[in-house]
């Protein structure tokens, strides 16, 4: 319903490059694996003179949950923020290497950074709804991306709130301040807000670290549901969470990607000593 009616208004939101499916040209990829959504190659990242990431290379597969783990300050959040160019907002940062989204280099081939951020949404550690109504929080995403049709906005707000499993809880108080929601609800509102621009990738920076166990479960269920439609990259401190929800896990330590592989393998027979030490809780 919403998908058909908003074609004209949301045209500008559509990916500007066609989605290539020619995975064969990229080598003999396992048939069971899905196409790669984001390819990171030889990424170095600097805050002024401090190098935060060293030579990180990684493939993020489409419609999978990729978890990034590692001790505080290991660069996993910095890495996450390179995937939608959020680090551009911090003065004095510099990046070498490539980040390709569907074969498009988001640093060199894309002039307008907001195009990248529309395609790669982000949810932050601390829920950060705007001091506006619940409705306006979700509508904001559409408005800043050029959607003006009121009916389209209303329908999009409902459908995204439904997607975030929040609709039934808030449908009677859409005009209330977002600050009146509980912490978990606020975080799901932020997820809904990110989904409203219909991104292809969703980045989550410890989305449940400030929430109680029940709210955390709800967020995790939501992530499981969302991976049907989105590619998800999640940073988490919680190893059980990574084990529960992710398909792939990357372990960062001191700015380097120590190990990356299917979650099951990472947690049962990690290839590196460092990974094993961290996962078994010997440090971190």
């Amino acid at each position: 319903m919403y998908k058909q009616q908003d074609n004209i208004e949301l045209e500008s939101l559509q990916p500007q490059v066609s989605e290539p499916h020619n995975t064969t040209s990229r080598g003999q990829r396992d048939k069971a694996r899905l196409p790669v959504k984001i390819t990171i190659k030889k990424l170095d990242f600097y805050y002024v003179d401090n190098q935060a990431l060293y030579d990180v290379s990684l493939d993020v597969e489409k419609n999978r949950v990729t978890a990034l783990i590692g001790p505080s300050g290991c660069g996993k959040s910095t890495f996450l923020r390179t995937l939608n160019r959020m680090n551009d907002t911090i003065p004095g940062t510099r990046l070498e290497g490539t980040v390709k989204l569907d074969e498009v280099d988001i640093y060199r081939d894309v002039k307008d950074v907001s195009v990248v951020r529309r395609r790669v949404g982000m949810v932050f550690q601390k829920s950060n709804p705007f001091p506006k109504s619940i409705f306006e929080n979700v509508a904001y995403s559409l408005k800043v991306n050029g959607v003006t049709n009121k009916r389209v906005i209303t329908e999009a707000v409902e459908s995204t709130l439904r997607k975030a499993f929040l609709w039934d809880e808030v449908k009677d108080k859409l005009q209330h301040s977002a600050y009146m929601l509980s912490g978990g609800q606020q975080q799901r509102l932020c997820i809904a807000r990110a989904l409203a621009v219909r991104p292809e990738v969703l980045l989550m920076d410890e989305p449940a670290s400030a929430l109680d166990p029940l709210s955390t479960t709800k967020i995790e269920d939501l992530i499981n549901e969302l991976k049907k439609d989105y590619t998800i990259v999640i940073v988490t401190h919680n190893m059980q969470q990574a084990a529960r929800i992710s398909d792939f896990t990357g372990f960062f330590y001191e700015g380097r990607l120590i190990e990356f592989g299917p979650t099951k393998q990472m947690f049962t027979k990690p290839g590196k000593k460092k990974t094993e030490d961290y996962i078994t809780g010997r440090f971190g």
Partner: protein, 320 residues
């Protein structure tokens, strides 16, 4: 038991000797000293207010508020001065708020706060706030009237009488705007600084541009702070006489200002004139008192209107 004499064995907790608690000061001295300071302020304010209200209340009448001065200001009202003051303050606000807010946004959102150039600009703004107001008056005369106004005249109105190159309400308002600019910039900057980074990040992460973020997230959040700046600017500007003496305020005018290049009467200047230039000071004294009272009440009203608007915005933001 007397606490000051509390001698207890401390061996149990590891000390070998006994020791004595020092008696603590009761805190009465600092308390009474600070209270005295407050009392002095309140007393001075009370004397001033009492004096003005007692002297002025008798003169205040509908006639006084709605009629022009008569017989060398010994009779009649002060309507032109009230009108001029309100018009002046409104024009000043229209000029100072956009320039001040845009400056603050530039400094806060588009520059790196630690850079040398920006620190220099901040220093300049702070110094601007310390410049004596008479200097602003002379600057306004030289810059606005002679240079800009005179320039316009020599370009478009050659030969005739000065049209813009003369004291006028617009020049006085702009001079006052300069005087109050630092207040607006500083309080707007203060408001912008308190906006959490997370909110800006949230907006950028949704694909909003910087301009959209400023317009839809930052400015609504900063609005109460901007209004505070406006309130302070109005309070400061409405009482200033020195900047407008040379730039537009008139001793006496038989008409109200209706164009931007008209001169105008103003309450503060009117008070100054009555107090210093009147042929019979005793005869104008009641009117003088009344005028001072009106100026006070007017400033108070402008202030409370702005405060009311601000608190309404604040409460609307919390409850939506």
């Amino acid at each position: 038991m007397n606490i000051a004499a509390d001698k207890r064995p401390t061996a149990a907790i590891g000390y070998s000797a006994t020791y004595q608690y020092k008696p603590k000061s009761s805190g009465l001295l600092p308390r009474s000293l600070t209270f005295l300071a407050v009392l002095i302020i309140i007393a001075i304010l009370a004397v001033i207010m009492f004096n003005i209200v007692c002297g002025g209340i008798g003169v205040i009448s509908w006639e006084f508020l709605t009629h022009p001065p008569e017989r060398g200001m010994e009779a009649g009202g002060i309507f032109p001065a009230i009108f001029g003051t309100v018009a002046l303050v409104i024009l000043m606000t229209i000029a100072v708020i956009p320039i001040g807010v845009l400056t603050a946004i530039y400094l806060q959102e588009y520059t790196r706060p630690d850079s040398k150039g920006i620190r220099l600009i901040r220093l300049a703004i702070n110094n601007l706030a310390g410049v004596p107001s008479i200097v602003f008056g002379l600057f306004g005369l030289g810059f606005f009237i002679q240079w800009i106004g005179g320039g316009i005249d020599s370009l478009f109105f050659e030969g005739g009488r000065p049209v813009w190159g003369q004291p006028a309400i617009v020049w006085a308002a702009l001079t006052l705007a300069l005087l109050t600019l630092p207040v607006v910039i500083i309080s707007t900057e203060e408001a912008l600084r308190t906006i959490p980074r997370e909110l800006k990040d949230a907006s950028y992460a949704l694909g909003a541009t910087k301009l959209q973020t400023i317009r839809r997230v930052i400015l609504p959040q900063a609005l109460p702070g901007i209004l505070t700046g406006g309130i302070l600017a109005v309070s400061r500007g409405a009482g200033e006489v020195a900047p407008i003496m040379f730039t537009g305020a008139a001793y006496y005018l038989p008409y109200l200002p209706s164009k931007l290049n008209d001169q105008f009467m103003e309450l503060g200047y009117h008070i100054y004139v009555m107090a210093t230039q009147s042929p019979d000071v005793e005869a104008t004294k009641p009117i003088l008192y009344g005028t001072v009272l009106v100026l006070l009440v007017l400033t108070f009203m402008l202030n409370s209107a702005a405060i009311m608007i601000r608190s309404r915005i604040r409460s609307r933001r919390v409850n939506v």
